[in-house]
Symmetry: C2
């Protein structure tokens, strides 16, 4: 009987408790023994709750109880979660978490601390909700040379982009509806500016490189500049617009970025709609494999936390190896990344655009109706693109092509 | 240093050797030790091959060598693969295989034999090529109550259906091109009649139920009756036509079938095109999670075999639990499954069809041009549908709705 404590009785934490209750028999079968929820840490009391008696307010009750083997940190944020996790690992307790901010910021050092103390630090739920992508990367696909990981990692922005596309509604209107429905936060910055996707690709990139990819080093653009006109052009081009988070291996190390991209409809990422997430992994022998599912949601995320608890119990007394060292990864600048760009300029700048971007541009139909000139550049580097863009008198917008 | 033998130096077998060679460092890192290919069993010699010296013709050389820990059976077919695998397990060697025919027919007894002998029997590569779906079912998702598994499990038929849809070419023409390109066998029956998908869903259904789902008990329809007219109607209806293999939990046990289905374009399975496979798993807490990738191909399939070898080496001296007992699963008849059906009858039978299928049918546009009447029935049971269908003077075709 393994004893478990849950830190934070909010959405994910109460989901973890719910999975442990509802699927107790399956959890026992999978872990090889029953799991007992011994404590729930929260500032609040929960009178009348089935687990009222397990609620404690002092982390030390949990840390000082030698019976507690596994701690599920589902509080979110950096502090006090970071201190609690460190103390738990130092006291020989394994930790699993859904806390993407903390894993992106301090995951590698927490993995090393777990290793030093002969326990485990797992964080499946921090990326892609219930999708078992980290365990696959760390296990079934570990013998692959992973060349690239490309994902739609934020359900809120994907919901907004899908609605803009299908209903022709402006960003601000769709955001408002998403907020009303609870799909977007009242302060939507972390989602719409790409910060959440950035933290998740930092975690995936760290696992891919085996080092620490700092999320602050990742070039990140959100979706606030994407317009309904862009979607009309995308349809003309047989493409979809998605906020992609990507990490690619190149000759210098790794390149990673978050940005809206035009992707061909044939690409399976193009048909990932609504609040769904998807992560494509390309391995040198395997080719492409894609994982798809709800990237958030109480029970799906909680299910991934419980999968980590089970893994820890199955490997009692052993550190589960996670390919992530605290050493900083070398991240290439985006300057040398080569791609095409879709650009919209005022109609009167057609000649200027042609002069600046050369003869190899492809004109996209539909510009005149919007009093603009829309085109796709030849393959050029990000740096080259930026320099040419500066030469234009004005730009209505641009989107990268995948 | 774990010693490995490969049985059958054909497509998958040579792929396994290639993965072990090309990714030796990654394989060692994942397994925690290097793997050495000690033998390749084949009837042929391979003069000039890098691994010429490892080729043997007598299985007993391998079975009698106590150094060989893991055997990769990549021969395919029932015999002699079945005898070889049994002997290996009895001699305390673990076995992993890509052989779906054998796993569907005898997997559960081989798992039990492995357990009895304290070794492992794994078969990730038998379903979905390189997609790590069995390991996920058996590991990350084992604490879920899986309600249903729905998959596009055969790349050849998916390629043919995709071509028919996108190019408007008839089944027989597309099949011929697929055969020329090597995407379809010269004898295409196993693919186009659904037998291959049937074996794969039998394996998934066995893992889902924990018992033996006999593939001979699974109702199976292939794609030979799907026409280009059907695709035109499907587009009108906002749907795609896919060969689905499914297993659902119901009050009586399990229901499983293979058949072409009309599925809404919003369903992520609808946009799985070409030779790709996808498997959707629905868990009670997790909701939907889908795995997508190439369902065949030398290196992808081989990569999954190597993942099994690594798992076995990591768990040396331990039987890796696989949820599959030899006890027969109870499979419900399809008679009680309830759904809508898309039906096409000659135009002059419109009144008869309306009389037989009642007022709740939905007429689908486009029938008159084909001198026919096309409609979708209300939700009715398979048995009810079949009985009504018999009452019609003639039927041009029908497809189930998902």
């Amino acid at each position: 009987m393994a004893k478990v404590a849950v830190l934070g009785y909010g959405t994910v934490g109460s989901g973890v408790v719910s999975v442990l209750d509802t699927n107790a028999a399956e959890v026992e079968k999978s872990a090889g023994e029953a799991l007992e929820l011994k404590y729930i840490l929260d500032l609040r009391d929960f009178p009348g709750d089935k687990h009222e008696a397990q609620v404690v307010h002092d982390i030390n009750v949990i840390l000082d109880d030698p019976e507690v083997e596994v701690i599920c940190e589902t509080m979110g944020g950096i502090e006090p979660a970071f201190s609690f996790e460190k103390s738990a690992l130092e006291k020989g307790k394994s930790v699993c978490t859904s806390n993407k901010e903390l894993v992106a910021a301090h995951g590698p050092e927490l993995v090393e601390l777990a290793k030093k103390n002969g326990v485990s630090y797992l964080f499946e739920a921090s990326v892609g909700g219930g999708i078992p992508v980290l365990r696959s990367l760390n296990d079934s696909l570990k013998h692959e040379k992973v060349d690239s990981i490309t994902g739609i990692l934020n359900g809120t922005t994907n919901y907004i982009l899908t609605k803009m596309d299908k209903e022709g509604a402006e960003f601000s209107k769709v955001l408002k509806v998403a907020q009303e429905k609870g799909y977007a936060e009242r302060n939507p910055e972390a989602d719409v500016e790409g910060y959440d996707a950035c933290r998740k690709i930092a975690i995936l990139a760290s696992l891919m490189s085996g080092k620490h990819v700092n999320y602050e080093d990742i070039y990140t653009e959100g979706i606030t500049k994407v317009t309904i006109e862009d979607f009309a052009y995308a349809r003309t081009m047989g493409m979809a617009i998605k906020l992609l988070a990507m990490c690619k291996r190149n000759e210098n190390g790794f390149f990673t970025m978050v940005s809206p991209f035009l992707i061909p409809l044939e690409n399976p990422l193009a048909s990932v709609n609504g609040v769904f997430n998807a992560i494509n992994i390309h391995g040198n022998m395997l080719g492409d494999v894609m994982f798809y599912g709800k990237g958030a949601g109480k029970n799906a995320t909680a299910s991934a936390v419980v999968a980590d608890v089970i893994d820890i119990v199955k490997h009692r007394g052993k550190h589960i190896n996670v390919n992530m060292k605290a050493e900083k990864a070398v991240i290439s600048s985006k300057d040398n990344a080569v791609r095409s760009f879709f650009v919209r300029v005022p109609l009167e700048q057609e000649d200027q655009a042609k002069e600046i971007f050369g003869s190899k541009i492809e004109v996209i139909d539909g510009g005149e109706a919007n009093h603009e000139f829309a085109f796709v550049t030849d393959m050029i580097s990000e740096k080259d693109f930026e320099e040419r863009l500066w030469k234009l008198d004005s730009v209505k917008g641009y989107i990268r092509l995948f």
